[in-house]
């Protein structure tokens, strides 16, 4: 890095004040034009029609903040750290001070000085200002380091550490239910996160290994859930009997989808799989005699441990889990059992993926991802290879679906919308495609964190979308993007190869 040595005695070029103001003015103008229409006016429902209210104060605030923010960013880019730190801290201090002062008195004069109506947005602006100040302080201290280089290093380091990190996280996951802070809420979130980790690992087979972009993964999840629910309700079968059936049904659905889309690639494939997912949902919604349509299926039986139910008393008069083991009854037992169930399912998925990567079929998937034409010329059958990837990925989706059904006890087409597919795909891609540990981090980041901020419910999806964009712009190959060669020519060459 030449820059690092050059900046030991900083000789910074002079600032072009007019240029900065013009640039910032342009940004402010765009923000004004963006916010004028949709923020400036709000359509209100009033009896007998619609009314319109204005919010120009917030448009003004957004415009001024955009101007300041742009100036600060340019200064940061030009390595003028001190003003950035000062302005960032000042904005954060003023807004946070006003938020605290206006607490509990939303109509007071102090509250009127706040830039935005909503407390969350105000706090977000303050946090952004703090982050900018922190960034400036950091790079002033480090004398400017390319951020993306650092990120690549970090990804390689995390992957090297995965040897220790994996077992460590696994150990933590195993003992989690018995830790003192593990209450019902935390376990519920943990179950949710592990479910998404499992789905992410399942989809990783299709997207990460075989390179087939699937935007309709939720269809297999739905097939698994409905298979279990319908089998259990109509034929009175237990969870463990149904689980393989659900997987097989989902795998069949995968083959069914796979056949017509074999010839497609990339974006086309994504849209067709998306269409397939929506078709399954529309059918579930309208085939009332079979799926009970929008009413959904309720009363799905809970799983048992070798026939021992997790209820206070067994309705059939048999043993229950707590009586069999001589424990006192606790409703948390069932949650802990569900947690271990999904943890085992997820680990099976992970183990399966790791092993199959070393089999010829796994290698064929990865070869197909890299170059389909080359694959064909060396005798790999792309059709069979793609179909196995689709069906195996779908099978794990089906397992996940039946777990979802047994956990909720109620399913309806509402749970299987496109957004679920998008979330699962986002977990795979944001984690860094093909990276198993990346999926875990992405699931914790995207599912776990927002769950803790349930109070901000209405901002959750907004932040989710923004995070997807931000992470992709920052790291187009995913958080822990990094490709470990499956095969090495010599044992000495153990240094992981950076992705080019």
């Amino acid at each position: 890095m030449t820059e690092r040595s050059a900046t030991t005695s900083p000789v910074l070029p002079p600032l072009d004040a007019v240029g900065i103001v013009r640039e910032a003015g342009l940004t402010a103008f765009v923000v004004f034009a963006l916010t004028f229409s949709l923020v400036g006016f709000k359509v209100e429902d009033v009896p007998g029609g619609l009314d319109i209210v204005t919010r120009f104060d917030q448009v003004l605030a957004a415009t001024v903040l955009a101007f300041t923010g742009r100036v600060v960013l340019i200064l940061l880019h030009k390595r003028r750290h001190l003003p950035v730190i000062l302005v960032g801290l000042a904005i954060a201090a003023v807004i946070l001070g006003l938020v605290v002062a206006a607490r509990g008195a939303p109509e007071s004069a102090t509250a009127a000085w706040l830039p935005f109506e909503s407390v969350v947005v105000n706090v977000l602006v303050a946090v952004a200002a703090l982050v900018l100040a922190g960034r400036a302080a950091w790079s002033a201290w480090r004398r400017d380091v390319g951020v993306s280089d650092e990120a690549v290093e970090l990804a390689a380091r995390v992957h090297k550490a995965a040897i220790f990190l994996g077992p460590l996280m696994l150990g933590f996951a195993v003992v989690l239910p018995f830790l003192p802070f593990a209450d019902r809420r935390l376990l519920d979130i943990a179950i949710l996160v592990v479910t998404y980790v499992m789905l992410g690992w399942g989809l990783n087979i299709v997207v990460g290994l075989a390179g087939l972009l699937d935007l309709g993964y939720v269809a297999f999840y739905a097939v698994g859930a409905y298979s279990y629910a319908l089998l259990a309700i109509n034929f009175d079968l237990g969870f463990w009997v149904c689980l393989p059936f659900a997987g097989i049904m989902a795998a069949f659905a995968g083959i069914l989808l796979g056949f017509p889309v074999l010839r497609l690639r990339g974006d086309y494939l994504a849209i067709v799989t998306l269409g397939f997912g929506e078709m399954i949902r529309v059918i579930l919604l309208n085939w009332y005699e079979f799926t009970k349509g929008p009413d959904g299926i309720s009363g799905i039986p809970r799983p048992t441990l070798f026939g021992l139910p997790f209820t206070r008393t067994d309705p059939d008069g048999g043993e229950t889990f707590h009586s069999f083991f001589g424990l006192t009854y606790s409703p948390l037992d069932r949650i802990i059992f569900l947690y271990y169930l999904i943890l085992i399912l997820a680990l099976v998925t992970n183990f399966f993926t790791m092993r199959i990567r070393r089999l010829p079929i796994g290698r064929a998937w990865e070869a197909l991802r890299e170059d389909e034409v080359a694959c064909r010329s060396i005798g790999i059958n792309p059709r069979n290879t793609k179909l196995t990837a689709f069906s195996i990925g779908a099978m794990f989706g089906g397992f996940g679906g039946s777990f979802f059904a047994t956990r909720q006890g109620f399913i309806s087409p509402e749970s299987f919308t496109f957004i679920e597919s998008a979330i699962i795909l986002a977990i795979v891609v944001l984690g860094g495609m093909g990276s198993q540990i990346g999926v875990v981090f992405a699931a914790i980041l995207l599912i776990g964190l927002p769950e803790f901020f349930r109070e901000l419910q209405q901002y959750r999806m907004l932040a989710f979308g923004a995070a997807m964009v931000a992470i992709m712009v920052w790291r187009p190959r995913g958080l822990l993007a990094f490709r470990d060669p499956t095969i090495r020519l010599s044992d000495h060459d153990t240094a992981p190869e950076k992705q080019t």
Partner: protein, 322 residues
């Protein structure tokens, strides 16, 4: 999308009026197809120039509908009730304000990723789509917004029979406006310097840059054009159905994309043709089969087209390079 596509009669009372019923569905389908076609042009232009699916384009259409609604309400509050003037003002306002969204979308979410794997751009597009949906939901509320009919009345044919075929003034307006826009658009693409730059970029981005075309500017203008056409589609949707919410962009976007694929992605006349076909198929499917499965019909067509004619009706064959 609301289920009232079969305006002007339901299958129940069409017995004995085969011709009239067919004609009515034809009119409805064409109107719907014009709306899809206008959105599809945005998809096909962006795909042609940077080879990515602008997944958030449906959201741009939705924003266009909301800006139209707000402008209508504002004009109503200001007391401007002369309909031609009001519609003209709304048209200009929605094209202006929505195209800013199109421009920003490209600048913020797609330009930094132009040289990245295509998957990354698709993920940002999905992220942008989720973001914009929730942005509008937070700012304008989640409830559906009804707008009373702005243009009412229409021509009535076959008055001698009991089933009267109606061609409403609104449908005439939609068809005429679309044709006008298409003429202007064709002129812009074929005759202006922006159009030439746009076509050059579509053929080869790198080469276009070498011969002195400002590629960034051309791509930005492409997004602006696509967004303003989509916003007009939003205005038409609002006037045609009378209800909008923040979620209308998803299905309309997918159907318009289907239209673009059906017509041959990258081909501008193909997008309009595909839009008309999808509109007609949807109208006839709802009229003669089941309304519930009309969305399945659109997807099924998409799958069938991609299997049997991946380049679409008017598309050029894609040569696979090693």
């Amino acid at each position: 999308m609301p289920a009232n596509v079969t305006r002007g009669g339901s299958p129940v009372n069409c017995k004995g009026f085969v011709m009239e019923y067919f004609l009515q569905q034809l009119i409805n389908g064409l109107t719907l197809g014009m709306i899809y076609g206008l959105i599809a042009i945005g998809y096909t232009m962006v795909y042609g120039i940077i080879g990515m699916i602008n997944f958030a384009h449906g959201e741009i259409f939705m924003i266009g509908a909301f800006v139209s609604l707000i402008t209508f309400l504002l004009l109503g509050a200001l007391g401007i009730t002369w309909i031609p003037l009001a519609v003209l003002v709304v048209l200009i306002a929605t094209m202006l304000f929505t195209s800013v969204y199109g421009w920003t979308l490209e600048r913020v979410a797609y330009r930094p990723l132009r040289d990245s794997p295509r998957l990354a751009a698709l993920i940002t597009a999905i992220g942008m789509s989720i973001f914009l949906q929730n942005y509008v939901q937070l700012l304008q509320g989640a409830r559906i917004k009804p707008l009373p009919p702005v243009i009412s009345g229409g021509f009535r044919f076959m008055k001698e029979s009991d089933f009267v075929v109606t061609l409403s003034y609104l449908q005439v307006f939609i068809i005429l406006l679309t044709i006008t826009l298409m003429l202007v658009f064709t002129y812009v693409i074929n005759r202006t310097s922006f159009g030439r730059a746009q076509r050059a970029c579509q053929q080869d981005l790198g080469m276009a840059a070498l011969i002195g075309i400002n590629v960034d500017r051309t791509i930005s203008l492409t997004f602006v054009t696509g967004a303003s056409l989509a916003s007009v589609a939003g205005l038409m949707f609002l006037m045609n159905y009378g209800v909008i919410d923040f979620y209308i962009g998803f299905l309309a976007g997918i159907k318009a994309f289907t239209a673009a694929v059906l017509g041959g992605i990258g081909s501008l006349p193909g997008a309009m043709l595909g839009g008309l076909l999808i509109g007609l198929i949807e109208a006839f499917w709802s009229a003669y089969f089941t309304v519930e499965y009309k969305d399945v019909a659109a997807f099924a067509i998409l799958v069938l087209v991609l299997i049997f004619r991946p380049t679409g009706l008017l598309g050029k064959p894609d040569i696979e390079k090693v």
